[in-house]
């Protein structure tokens, strides 16, 4: 349980910081960099979430398929 709460906080932190970076870069007119920062933040979080979901599927498999 501890691990999962940790990962949620991490995702939230990355989200907040990336949102701030996006606003700051947007304000000075560096729109293209802002887009890239958001995109990379999104991809990073996507990888994290994908690995967790993979864990979940493995668990389901081991419970229901009796391997």
């Amino acid at each position: 349980m501890g691990l999962e709460v940790d990962i949620i906080f991490k995702i939230a932190g990355v989200g907040i910081v990336v949102a701030f970076l996006h606003t700051v870069l947007d304000q000075v007119g560096k729109k293209e960099y802002a887009q890239w920062v958001t995109l990379f933040g999104f991809i990073y979080i996507l990888f994290q979430v994908a690995s967790i979901v993979d864990d979940l599927f493995q668990k389901i498999k081991s419970v229901f398929l009796f391997q």
Partner: protein
Amino acid sequence: MVKLIGAIFIILATTWTGFEAAKHLSERPRQLRQLRSALQSLEAEIMYGHTPLHEAARRLAAQLSNPLSSFFEGFAKKLTDTETTVKDAWEDSLKDVWKQTAFKQGEFEIMKQFGETLGRHDRISQQKHIMLTLSHLEREEADAVDKQAKYEKMVKSLGFFSGLLLIILLI
């Protein structure tokens, strides 16, 4: 505990980098203003004071603050002590002091071109050359002020937030 100390180090380092970059941005218009007033006093020395160049440079060095002061001081020293032309002395002292200033390549070219005209004409054309250099520098200063207003805040917050992001990713 060690993690916390590392995190503090990272955030201090990136914030400091941001502030240093911001300082560079705010230093450039200030030094350009100083340089313009220096050239204006040089013009006054030449036009109304009839001062020899090394004497005028020494007075300017006394009036100004670093790094421009050391530039004019080096220039005056080279003129009196060594056997060179004004152009070479100007360029050499410009190169010596360049690393300490916040100027960019554009200003370097302007100053170099000005050094080529220095001391080669009568007073009236010398004044015209000073005016030309002043107007060039004014343009650069407007550009520098523009850049400062645009990027100073961004660089500061960018440093802080990139440190924060790095910490979150590493924890």
